[in-house]
């Protein structure tokens, strides 16, 4: 077991955004967390990566408690989040963005290898390496954000809605990429609103509603679940 979240509560001021969330990610798996808008998915991810510090509960990563650590220390453990909304550094080139991906000291020495791997997965980034990230198309920015995350040699790569606002063609590309990433042995935790595709690709899934986990199971089980089908798949 790579990541274990136990009884996680989170607050914005006095408002509770997460209530007793429990989830697990095993090594080598692709796990997905789905739910409608404002369910608290991003909040959960930000708690895990240490961006949100006002929280209660246990978060364990690779056998170590990380819930008290600040975000930059958690990154050093190999837990990398690709944030929502393609947050690349707009006034830096593609190359500089990738450089920052391997900011943690451990990975800096292997920058060249990592770069090769990322360019192998995303040849488009190689072409655009000296272009300003802010001038890339939305889909390209998303690819860059993922590539930047991979530069840190993640043990666990967390993605927050990587397909948001992308055209179907790019959505396919993102899922293909996730498949490859997972095939190469990197564990993935994926937050998606594209419930059908996410569950189809996932080993295991959790459904979050109003800050609570309401349903969980293997991807296939959830796909066949009636309640889920009604609520999310529009069937």
């Amino acid at each position: 077991m790579l990541l274990r979240v136990n009884n996680l509560d989170a607050y914005y001021g006095d408002v509770e955004a997460l209530h007793e969330v429990c989830l697990q990610v095993d090594s080598g798996q692709l796990v997905t967390l789905v739910g409608s808008n404002a369910a608290g998915k991003s909040t959960a991810l930000n708690c895990i990566s240490g961006i949100i510090s006002q929280k209660k509960g246990e978060i364990e990563f690779a056998g170590q408690r990380i819930d008290h650590l600040p975000a930059h220390r958690i990154v050093e453990h190999g837990l990398i989040q690709v944030p929502e909304g393609r947050r690349v550094f707009p006034f830096m080139t593609v190359m500089e963005n990738l450089d920052l991906g391997c900011y943690p000291k451990k990975t800096r020495s292997r920058k060249e290898e990592n770069l090769e791997r990322v360019f192998g997965l995303l040849p488009l980034l190689k072409e655009r390496r000296s272009q300003m990230a802010g001038s890339l198309s939305g889909g390209e920015q998303q690819m860059l954000a993922v590539g930047r995350g991979l530069m840190a040699e993640p043990q666990l790569l967390i993605l927050d809605e990587p397909t948001l606002g992308l055209a179907p063609l790019f959505v396919e590309k993102v899922f293909a990429l996730l498949g490859e990433i997972r095939a190469s042995g990197t564990t993935v935790l994926l937050v998606e609103q594209n419930v059908h595709m996410a569950l189809a690709a996932a080993d295991y899934g959790y459904v979050l509603e109003n800050g609570k986990i309401v349903l969980e199971g293997t991807g296939r089980e959830l796909l066949q679940d009636e309640r889920l089908a009604k609520a999310y798949l529009g069937i």
Binding site: S49, A71, P90, F91, M92, D99, L100, Y103, P104
Partner: protein, 296 residues
């Protein structure tokens, strides 16, 4: 108008401008990265001039030799002030952001008055009055040095920002604080280092100006205001802008002092300041929307 006179005025203006630029680089760095206007900036300069003075007073060594020590002292002071004051102002309401450093400036200036009295002090060395002559004009050696150092520092900072990991981490923090944290950047460290480096740069300015100017508790007031003008004119956060703004203000000051009235030269650049703030708040080289990139 006489060609030599024109050249003399121009060169004097550029040199004063170089001094302004040197003083302003630290201010613009701190603003650019942290979005904090250090209203105590002039007092940091005053402190470093006093540091240079006392070190000179006790050791008798050349102020230029003592500069590294002054820089170190100011760096340490920057760290201390960051920890005690600045850290708490980041992301706080505007009143905190403005008046914490206003209060700090008041405190520093008057603490200097209490400790060291209002007397003018000077560092008398051959270097303070040395003049360089060429093409029929003369320039002060110490100001020449200050100007050259300003240019060199701007270049070094530029290279630091462009090509080193810490530099990139700083730029990343400016563009997206959360994003930078997710890359493993310790943004509290970035802010602390930025503030300390900004203070150390003021230390350099103080050490180089100490031989050329009288030193007294309110010496920072005018220099501080001038550096606000320079930074706003050049574009808040822009290094090259600080250089350009410095030289421009220096030249404007010298020429208006000569042609209008020496007593009004400050008025002219305050007017420039207001016009820039109102009509082109990004300054000459500032980034458009720079305010939105960092925290608002």
């Amino acid at each position: 108008m006489d060609g030599t006179l024109f050249l003399q005025l121009l060169v004097s203006g550029l040199l004063i401008g170089g001094v302004y630029a040197l003083i302003s680089i630290g201010l613009t760095l701190i603003f650019g990265v942290m979005r904090i206007v250090n209203f105590a900036h002039g007092e940091f300069l005053m402190l470093s001039m006093f540091a240079a003075f006392w070190l000179f007073h006790f050791t008798g060594l050349s102020p230029y030799l003592l500069a590294p020590l002054v820089i170190l002292l100011l760096f340490a002071y920057g760290v201390a002030i960051y920890v005690l004051v600045i850290r708490r102002t980041i992301g706080s309401p505007m009143v905190v952001q403005i008046f914490a450093t206003v209060g700090l400036g008041l405190f520093m200036q008057n603490a200097a008055l209490v400790l060291w009295s209002g007397d003018f002090r000077t560092i008398q060395t051959p270097a303070s009055t040395a003049l360089l002559r060429f093409a029929g004009i003369q320039v002060s050696q110490s100001m020449m040095i200050a100007s050259l150092v300003a240019i060199v520092i701007a270049l070094i900072l530029f290279a630091f920002m462009a090509w080193t990991y810490p530099g990139k981490a700083i730029r990343a923090t400016v563009q997206d604080r959360v994003g930078a944290q997710l890359m493993g950047v310790n943004i509290d460290r970035v802010f602390m280092m930025t503030f300390a480096i900004g203070s150390a740069l003021v230390g350099i300015a103080g050490a180089l100006l100490a031989p050329a100017y009288p030193i007294f508790p309110s010496v920072g007031a005018n220099f501080g205001l001038a550096s606000f003008v320079v930074v706003v004119l050049g574009g808040m956060g822009s290094m090259t802008g600080a250089l350009l703004g410095g030289f421009l203000i220096g030249v404007v000051e010298t020429f208006s002092g000569f042609f209008i009235d020496a007593a009004l030269k400050q008025a002219v650049y305050f007017l420039v300041f207001i016009l820039v703030l109102v009509f082109r708040p990004t300054g000459l080289l500032g980034q458009r929307g720079a305010e939105e990139i960092g925290l608002k």
